[in-house]
């Protein structure tokens, strides 16, 4: 136990004195400071330009600055009507009636004079021309709505309904309220995403560090003395827990700084839903996060440590850790795809939330974005804790055998055989 404490202290000091560790932490804190202070800083610079509340106005100069949207078609009347309707619907555009032939219109778009064009083939169809179609281009969606309304109003009028009545019928709206009795995914999505991503980054980075740390001791032959001075279990647990503490310290520094900066700038963020939802994360979820983080970290750090002990050269590590990394990335993808699909209780997530290698991310995501029966959480945690201890002991055994093997990286079968004997 005393030995374990000595190792833990030595390893942790190694992390905290590491220039890269300190540098990365400071960089991340600074980055977060810039992001969170941004609205405050931006306001200072914006002060002289536009006072909020005073609208920019509908002057001509402003209209000239907007991107040009062209309307073309065979029926002059219809084109004019559409131009008027679109001017109202597309406030960001300068909507003009196109002059010249279709090729002229295309030419204007490719040359950049106009951003897009609607060429009306008839009352119920049109072609939309744009130079580069953006992923977020919703112009056709808006145009469909506008044109449909125009058609419906006309249809109603031709059936003897007055124009006012037609407008009234078409603009009747239904109001609703949503109350989520379980979890509100819209609220939770962002902080769950941030937490899962933090988990992913920290485990991969620190897992690699543990593997490198072990392999460095082996390749520098410091292992020859270490293995005769300390028990492999003390070594393994000391290293892994030290790296876990280092990771936690870094996370607390980064998230703590973020929380502090946010509170200093709360007023400037005002009603930004995403940012506010992140910082209003419920406490119980934060505790779950901590629990799953620590357990998930251990299980992977042990594996990385064991793999590191079988490598004779630092160069071998990258290939040796590949299977573990792939396993982890696979779990990450299942979680991320399920999150974006909105159904976090699908069969894959159910399986992943009980398999110890994926449960830290999967169960945490389900807890955050859905309602999970308590017994499932307990089963998942029991399986995870048992696996952490099992894998911890196993990896210490692999370590004991692995560190004394030099030369080519041994095959899994050979290691298992040696463990059974040791």
């Amino acid at each position: 136990m005393k030995q374990f404490g000595t190792i833990l202290k030595f390893e942790l000091k190694g992390y905290l004195k590491n220039k890269i560790f300190v540098g990365v932490t400071i960089f991340l804190v600074a980055l977060i400071a810039v992001v969170i202070f941004f609205p405050r800083i931006a306001q200072v610079f914006d002060h002289e330009t536009v006072e909020p509340g005073i609208s920019a106005g509908e002057n001509n100069e402003d209209l000239e600055n907007r991107p040009v949207m062209l309307i073309a078609g065979d029926s002059v009347e219809y084109v004019a009507a559409v131009q008027q309707a679109f001017s109202q619907a597309f406030g960001d555009y300068h909507v003009q009636v196109a002059q010249g032939s279709l090729s002229d219109v295309k030419e204007q778009i490719t040359s950049g004079q106009a951003e897009c064009a609607f060429v009306l083939d008839g009352p119920q169809s049109y072609t939309y021309y744009v130079n580069n179609l953006s992923m977020y281009d919703e112009n056709t969606y808006v145009a469909d709505q506008v044109l449909e309304t125009v058609l419906r109003v006309e249809a109603l009028i031709s059936n003897g309904v007055s124009a006012e009545q037609a407008q009234q019928i078409l603009t009747t709206s239904v109001s609703h309220q949503t109350e989520s009795l379980g979890k509100d995914q819209m609220q939770n999505f962002f902080y769950t995403y941030i937490m899962v991503f933090a988990l992913y980054m920290v485990i991969l980075l620190y897992g690699q560090m543990v593997a490198t740390n072990v392999a460095t001791e082996k390749s520098s032959r410091a292992m020859e003395v270490l293995i005769t001075s300390a028990k492999p279990t003390s070594m393994m647990f000391g290293k892994v827990i030290a790296s876990c503490l280092a990771g936690l310290i870094q996370l607390v520094a980064v998230f703590g700084a973020a929380f502090l900066f946010y509170n200093l700038n709360r007023d400037y963020w005002g009603d930004n839903m995403i940012v506010n939802s992140i910082f209003d994360m419920p406490l119980d979820l934060l505790l779950y996060m901590l629990l799953f983080f620590v357990l998930g970290f251990f299980i992977y750090a042990f594996l990385y440590g064991a793999v590191g002990s079988t490598a004779s050269k630092l160069e071998d590590i990258n290939t040796s850790v590949m299977p573990i990394t792939l396993l982890f990335i696979l779990g990450f993808f299942v979680v991320v795809f399920s999150m974006s699909s909105g159904n976090v209780d699908n069969i894959w997530m159910m399986i992943c939330s009980f398999v110890p290698f994926t449960s830290p991310m999967a169960m945490f995501t389900r807890l955050a974005m859905s309602t999970v029966p308590f017994y499932q959480v307990i089963i998942s945690l029991v399986l995870l804790v048992a696996s952490v201890f099992g894998i911890g002991v196993l990896s210490a055994k692999i370590y004991r055998v692995g560190v004394l093997l030099y030369g080519t990286t041994p095959k899994i079968g050979e290691i298992l055989k040696a463990i059974r004997k040791a």
Binding site: T6, E224, V225, S229, K421
Partner: protein, 296 residues
């Protein structure tokens, strides 16, 4: 204290590395563990230090199974290396603490040893700023700082200049004088011969020779004479087939029986002008080549 390895077997996979290895080493004396590369020396040392268990056999201290939690070992491995990027004091304290020392006691002892090995100026330097020989002296401190009862030195002299080798010799003599069990493993026979009272020669995982070095030498028949003289040619003519010129120019004369020794020596001294005459004793080198030369 008497350290004993008794009937140790060890296999790695199909390969049997140790086969009924037994030897004893006593305190206040140095013991030499000899053998060619791959003979099983490092494996024996690792079993002795409980890095891994033997398949069979036992390690005894004063006749009882050794308790590794009570006995302190100091080990200088043949494959040297510590933490190149860490400060020397930090890592020496770390290793001493792993061996159970308190921080204060560790620093005190390390300062003593840094002074003893003339390394005090490097106390706060990084290890990789030191020369190879000096790094080796630092590593020696990891083997000695915690005042171990059993000291195991694997090739301690390799890579040291003559001055440092002299310093190390003095340190080793001090440790022996303190009543510690000192185990040497080396290929440099002159050092073993200088320090070790007892030796064991391993060959192919078996102990092929074990015992008191002096007795071993004595066990060879005393039927050869070494003669150094200005009249070597005349002597060589006289003895004919029974005489051989050695590499250093001296003559090796084979007698028909050990009993003849006294008479021949007297006759030679009276007849020729001799610089030196002595009974031939094999060097450790000769013994080693004889026992370890052929792979068993």
């Amino acid at each position: 204290m008497v350290l004993e390895l008794r009937d140790i077997d060890k296999s790695f996979g199909e390969k049997q590395v140790l086969n009924r290895v037994s030897f004893t080493a006593g305190s206040g004396k140095a013991f030499g563990l000899l053998g060619r590369n791959g003979a099983g020396k490092t494996t024996s040392i690792r079993i002795l230090m409980d890095v891994f268990p033997a398949d069979r056999g036992e390690v005894l201290l004063d006749g009882r199974a050794i308790d590794h939690s009570k006995i302190r070992f100091g080990y200088l491995p043949e494959e040297r290396g510590l933490y190149p990027k860490k400060k020397i004091l930090d890592q020496l304290v770390y290793f001493a603490q792993l061996k159970g020392m308190s921080y204060a006691a560790a620093v005190k002892s390390i300062d003593y040893w840094l002074g003893r090995l003339e390394m005090s100026e490097y106390r706060n330097k990084r290890l990789d700023t030191l020369s190879k020989g000096n790094q080796q002296k630092i590593q020696l401190i990891t083997a000695l700082a915690h005042d171990p009862e059993i000291v195991i030195l694997d090739e301690p002299f390799s890579g040291l200049d003559p001055v440092n080798a002299m310093l190390l010799k003095d340190v080793v003599k001090e440790e022996i004088a303190k009543g510690k069990i000192v185990l040497f493993s080396s290929h440099q026979m002159n050092y073993i011969e200088e320090f070790c009272d007892r030796i064991a020669i391993l060959n192919g995982g078996k102990v092929v020779l074990h015992g008191d070095l002096h007795d071993i030498k004595r066990s060879y028949p005393r039927d050869k004479l070494i003669v150094r003289s200005q009249q070597s040619e005349k002597i060589a003519q006289k003895f004919g087939q029974r005489c051989r010129v050695r590499e250093d120019g001296s003559l090796l004369i084979q007698l028909s029986t050990p009993a003849e020794k006294q008479a021949v020596m007297q006759r030679l001294t009276e007849t020729y002008d001799l610089d030196e005459i002595q009974v031939f004793e094999p060097s450790l080198n000769d013994i080693f080549v004889e026992y370890a030369g052929e792979q068993v």
